[in-house]
Amino acid sequence: MQKTLKKIEDKLYFVPFKPNTESHIKTNAAICAGCTGKECTKFCPANVFHWSEIDKKLYINYENCLECGACTIGCPYQAIEYSHPTASFGRM
């Protein structure tokens, strides 16, 4: 009945991005490995953060970032560093 999109991934498909080659979001691998809650993988409105159990590593899909800045505030260990993407890159 309703044609509006529901999933974050589907919605992001329509957001114009021009990703830089380097991430504007930096994390601290050691802290992330020891983090139990992995909060960032749940609250980010663009699902930028993915934890891989296999690699024991946090992957950052900065290409999808909507640039709200919630990640730095929401990380309980202050392990996420956000800076604005370089001019003319990021969400268009």
Binding site: Q2, T4, V15, K42, F43, C44, C68, G74, A87
Partner: protein, 409 residues
């Protein structure tokens, strides 16, 4: 080799507060420059889509209503929805104090005016760090340039990086003090919008959606009609998102599928999706006396100073007002040739002379318990809604209506 620029006044950010500050300088013949991180006409950061006509007309003159490209609809219908499981109440009020605008085009209209009056705007220029001399702020470093000024007004928005460095506002926001929003615009033919919302041609609606009886999380939600789309924004505290392991998009989807809202957007197509953070009103109740708004050569205004009044229809009005007052402060300090912290401290007393600011800072119903009013008794929610209306009769009617609407189970 980085480029060096020097201006008398430097404004960081061409959003509502930065542009209003620039307007005051241009009216007074003072040379001011703005650095803006986005490209010209591509302003992507947050800006209220519902603007207060009177305020902008007083400052920019009658030109506002002639911006036919930038205006989506003239707001005539103000509503509050109170969602419950499977049902809802709605109260509505007719008025016409606001316009629904297309942010990018409205922003462009304002920047065009300012640029034609000699304000220089450096686009795609991102303030990365402060330039300090003897501990005092002298300028801003960007990726490829340095901007020096006698005085700087930081209007960088809620995602504030420079004001943090400057030790202004009250330090880092905590998750309990941050609302995280998503905003979705859903395309619907204009005739269907007018039929579904019972609107006349080119007239529009703005609504607040309260979810306290539906989802056990206090939220702030807005809905408004554009020409041929409907925008719904949903916000909850970041701390609630974390505590309840609920992504803001899932909360937003619950609102979209509620029977009070879904008929408005049925068969619509998602057009845009974005997210932003806004400071929670709680901030001022707990930290009011610690909020630092000025230091030597520097002032902070707008979202970066946490000046966001969620209870107004034009949520960036307070930001715009603070930008204007910051500029007026600078002009007075300039007359004394003194941009010291002590001299700029009159910013605060000037703010206190403003009604909107006083509403914001003194409203106990809003601030005493922080965001709790959103989940408290229905009557208080009614109060939040009719608080917007100046007219006492309007308020009385709304009070009665909300009491009736809310006591029906």
């Amino acid at each position: 080799m980085s480029k060096k620029n020097k201006s008398e006044v430097l404004i960081i950010g061409a959003g509502p507060s930065g542009l209003l500050a620039a307007k005051v300088f241009s009216d007074n013949g003072i040379k001011a420059s703005i650095i803006e991180k986005d490209a010209k006409n591509k302003k992507k950061s947050f800006y209220s889509s519902i603007i207060n006509i009177q305020f902008y007309e007083e400052i920019f003159g009658g030109f506002i209503k002639n911006q036919t490209l930038a205006i989506e609809r003239e707001i005539t219908d103000y509503r509050a929805y109170f969602l419950k499981e499977g049902s809802f109440s709605c109260i509505s009020n007719q008025n016409n104090n606001h316009l629904c605008i297309k942010r990018e085009l409205f922003n462009k209209a304002l920047t065009d005016i300012l640029e034609s009056k000699g304000i220089q705007i450096f686009y795609e220029t991102i303030g990365r760090e402060l330039i300090l001399e003897n501990g005092k702020i002298k300028g801003i470093k960007t990726d490829d340039s340095e901007h020096y000024a006698d005085v700087i007004i930081i209007c960088e928005g809620a995602n504030s990086i420079l004001s943090k460095q400057a030790g202004l506002k009250s330090g880092e926001l905590s998750p309990e003090e941050t609302f995280l929003f998503v905003e979705e615009t859903i395309e619907i033919p204009s005739e269907a919008i007018e039929e579904r919302f019972n609107l006349q041609n080119n007239k529009g609606l703005t609504a607040k959606i309260f979810t306290h009886s539906f989802i056990e999380i206090p939220g702030i939600n807005y809905m408004h009609t554009n020409k041929s789309s409907v925008t719904i924004s949903s916000g909850i505290l970041l701390s609630d998102s974390i505590k309840n392991s609920i992504n803001i998009n899932d909360y937003h989807e619950k609102i979209k599928t509620h029977p009070g809202i879904s008929p408005f957007i049925s068969n619509g197509t998602t057009k845009t999706y974005s997210s932003y953070i806004m400071p929670a009103p709680l901030k001022y109740s707990k930290r009011a006396n610690k909020v630092k708004l000025y230091s030597d050569n520097c002032l902070v205004a707008g979202g970066a100073a946490m000046f966001v009044n969620h209870f107004k229809w034009d949520i960036s009005l307070l930001a715009a007002i603070s930008g204007k007052i910051a500029a007026e402060t600078v002009i007075e300090a300039r007359g004394k040739n003194d941009y010291s912290e002590k001299s700029l401290s009159m910013y605060e007393s000037k703010l206190r002379e403003n009604k909107e600011y006083n509403d914001f800072i003194n409203d106990n119903r809003v601030h005493a318990e922080g965001v709790l009013p959103f989940q408290k008794s229905p009557n208080e929610l009614g109060i939040l809604f009719y608080n917007d209306f100046e007219d006492k009769n309007d308020r009385k009617v709304l009070e009665n209506l909300s009491n009736i609407a809310l006591t029906v189970n």
